[in-house]
Amino acid sequence: MNLVAVGILTGLGFAAVYISQQARLSTGSLGYAVFFFALYLVAHVVARFTVPQADPYLLPMAGLLTAIGITEIYRLGQNDALRQGIWIVVGVGFFSAVLILLRHDYRALENYKYLFGIAAIVLLALPAAPVIGATINGARLWIQLGPFQVQPGEFAKLCLIVFLAGYLREKREVLAQGRLKDWGPLLLIWGGAMLVLFETNDLGSALLYYGVFLAMVYVATGRAIYSLLGLGLFVGGSYALYQVVPHVRDRVTIWLHPWTSHPVPCPFTGHLALRQDCQSYQLVKSLYSIASGGYVGPGFGKGTFTTPDGTPLIPYLNTDFIYSAIAQELGLVGAAALLLVYMLFVARGMRIALYADDGFSKLLAAGLTFGFALQTFVIVGGILRLIPLTGITLPFVSYGGSSIDANFIMLAGLLLVSDRANAGRRA
């Protein structure tokens, strides 16, 4: 039964890759599909042996999302697709390694929770370090390792969730009573993370971390008041930031008024320009891309992303704005289908958290899943102007090695929790 579902879902995913690339790029793409399918089989076999009782839907869904992502990346630029392909291989390697290493009992991680907390902060702070730190597109979020750029923040997110799961499990009763002493280490590590994020101007990640933190505190303590208090702090803090930090004020202005009918000062050039030609250029072009998709879109490989002479019409298309590319080519039907996969993934992830036996497992699964949902919301919501736009990756789909590898580790984590829970129930 499970295998049938796996087969159908992956079959569909790779049929999409194959057919679309056939239409546009003929046989060159076939190699990708075959290679990709082989890679998926490896991941599947590893999962079968290490976590045989795990949820059977998660891996196919991740495979589907990855397939859609690399198809679109391939369509936008073949060199990027090759690099992304390598990162996916590395990702499957991480995935297998985590499953094999932790197959007996992942709960051992709980003993190292402070180590994870410190690791999270170190990872976050790494890009600011001299020599290895690298600035790309104005954000200092990368480190340079030989020929590769790594975004340690993606892994810091996982470390922080492991730390929070461990710490909250241990202290949940006392935290619920609200003694300041117990909150100390929690606020210390979390505050350090937030400080680094604001320092690096990575507002999108800050929002993501804050949201995951509040969610996990809520799950652990069951006291909605903490989360509401946190939300109030967030609103207040945001307002203060809006008043003080020009960068934040700009983001909000771009969000609320992307189009102007009269030229306004453009900070990039120092001249007057329409805001849609300056600060909100990316947001507006991406919205045009989405809107031109209509109900069904022209189909994979048939969207319009450049002028006939190759000038891009939409910037950062395969990273932050890959959703705009997919929404244009597949239309509302395709975009909604993609989001439905995300919904199913979230539903399955939360189901794992529900069925897990112990607090650590529940918190871990809930944290990982909510992080996944919130990250999707922050980037796609930003693109759709539901919230101010901040550039982070769309899980499994966006171009970016660190992101895809971190997502595969997250997937492995969920499968480990799921396997244990199901095995326990059946025993």
Partner: protein, 498 residues
């Protein structure tokens, strides 16, 4: 913890449902508005994969816009080419990747790209898409007559101005020329675009501007046609109403003089004369007195009946149309209290901040020609599918009933006097058909430099064509001497062709 996890799960799902809702909003509700944004190049570029329909002149044979196939990065794209190098350039417009579109290329873009809502077209387009065949647009046939358009353009060569010829019975635009003009083939490249914006050999610039539909000129004495319409139609005057002309009319205690007589020093003086004779010889004092009697409010009401104070309802992009009317600080201005805010005498003979487009004045002539019934002007007469089947035929529509038939008949007679014994008699000597017209010579503020005008229709007994001609800033250029001969050429080109 399970209750919290369940709630958190619901929250996560709600967040993603919000994303689906947001996507739906942008791809359905807001999509149309975004597609129309000036800086949205996606739609424009995407349509270059469609083989646009051709644009023909009224004969259905002369191709004004066609397609050129070009392979770019493995894709077949269709670029526009204009075989006549700019015949009726302002009407046809251009369609490029780099700049947006203009003219019929813009206003009929849906038909030309086969994205119009017509069921047959939608069916064919979907079928082509499914088959993987190039989607081909519908062809557009203009009402522009090749010969008339050529005559208009060559008559204007070297001068700045515009010519509009309408069929008064239907509103079909037979010729619409704006000079200087440009070659639309140049528009795709930045270099060509710069070149197209220059007009060597002309005293004016802006060759891309459609002076026929957007150029705002003081109407001069051609506006007396509007004043006379108001005077006769309201019943305040008759063609034989008698006036005394001392060479000026008195307004606000000051003398407003007639136009100078080119052969004598000082203004012309006619003594006793009728309203019709005042029209024939374009006597300012007569119309000044009419204006004072009927008031600026009534005259402005009649301008509105003719279609002033609104874009002419011709099927060209709204950005390429200007409304006629009073202008104040470069903005269209309708006075709250015309009786106190507008000088009625000067308005009556075509001054007082009144600005008009050549198209609007052609419509004034056409309305008189058609017995007072103004027809809605149109430039596209037919749309056909690539296989030749008719998709749409333009049916003539009444724009407005401007005046009583009797008023039109009286004006027709008065306008004939202009070409037989009046200010345009010399220009129409020996033409052999009755012509009804009115000259205009608007002042520019420069000494001896005028804007000559002529509006007319013919044959006066069964009008088939109405023409408006304007020429910019001519030294000693009078309506009868400069504009009327061009109008005569137009009448001969169009009526001779019948």
């Amino acid at each position: 913890m399970n209750r919290q996890i369940a709630r958190l799960g619901v929250l996560g799902l709600v967040l993603i449902v919000a994303l689906i809702a947001g996507t739906t909003y942008w791809q359905t509700w807001a999509a149309g508005g975004l597609a129309d944004k000036q800086d949205n190049a996606i739609q424009r570029v995407a349509q270059f994969k469609i083989k646009r329909g051709l644009i023909y002149a009224s004969d259905g044979k002369t191709v004004l816009a066609s397609d050129r196939k070009k392979k770019v990065g493995g894709q077949t794209l269709w670029f526009r080419t204009y075989p006549t190098h700019g015949l009726a350039a302002h009407v046809v417009g251009y369609s490029t990747v780099e700049r947006s579109r203009t003219g019929v290329e813009r206003s009929f873009n849906d038909y030309l790209t086969a994205s119009n809502g017509n069921l047959n077209t939608a069916f064919r387009t979907t079928l082509d898409k499914l088959k993987g065949v190039t989607v081909t647009g519908n062809n557009v046939v203009l009402s522009i007559q090749v010969k008339a358009q050529q005559v208009a353009e060559s008559a204007l060569r070297g001068q700045c101005g515009a010519v509009v010829a309408l069929d008064p019975r239907t509103g079909a635009v037979l010729a619409m020329a704006s000079s200087p003009s440009y070659d639309p083939n140049l528009m795709e490249t930045a270099k060509g675009f710069k070149r197209a914006q220059r007009s060597p050999g002309y005293k004016c610039g802006a060759p891309l501007l459609d002076r026929a539909t957007q150029g705002l000129y003081p109407p001069g004495s051609t506006f007396k046609t509007v004043t006379a319409t108001a005077a006769l139609d309201t019943g305040a005057f008759r063609p034989d109403s008698v006036f005394t002309d001392p060479g000026y009319c008195t307004e606000y205690g000051k003398k407003v003089f007639n136009a100078g007589n080119p052969d004598q020093n000082g203004p012309e003086t006619y003594g006793q004369l009728t309203l019709a004779e005042g029209f024939e010889h374009s006597v300012n004092s007569v119309y000044c007195n009419i204006g004072k009697r009927i008031g600026a409010g009534v005259i402005l009401e009649y301008t509105k009946r003719f279609g002033f104070y609104a874009d002419p309802p011709v099927n060209l992009p709204p950005e390429e149309l200007s409304p006629s009317g009073l202008y104040f600080h470069d903005k269209l201005w309708y006075p709250k209290d015309p009786a106190t805010e507008v000088d009625p005498g000067r308005l009556a003979f075509g001054q007082e901040r009144m600005l008009v487009t050549p198209l609007q004045m052609a419509q004034v002539a056409a309305s008189v020609a058609n017995g007072g019934v103004e027809m809605r002007p149109y430039v596209v007469s037919k749309i056909t599918s690539p296989t030749g089947a008719t998709v749409l035929t333009t049916k003539p529509e009444v724009q407005n009933k401007v005046m009583k038939p009797q008023t039109a008949a009286e004006l027709n007679q008065m306008m004939q006097l202009v070409t037989t014994g009046g200010t345009a008699a010399a220009a129409f000597r020996g033409i052999g058909i009755p012509v009804a017209g009115k000259t205009g010579t608007a002042e520019t503020g420069l000494n001896n430099v005028y804007i000559p005008w002529f509006i007319c229709f013919a044959p006066a007994d069964h009008p088939r064509v109405a023409v408006a001609v304007v020429v910019e800033n001519k030294y000693r250029g009078f309506g009868g001497g400069v504009a009327a001969p061009i109008a005569r050429q137009m009448l001969q080109a169009i009526l001779g062709a019948h």
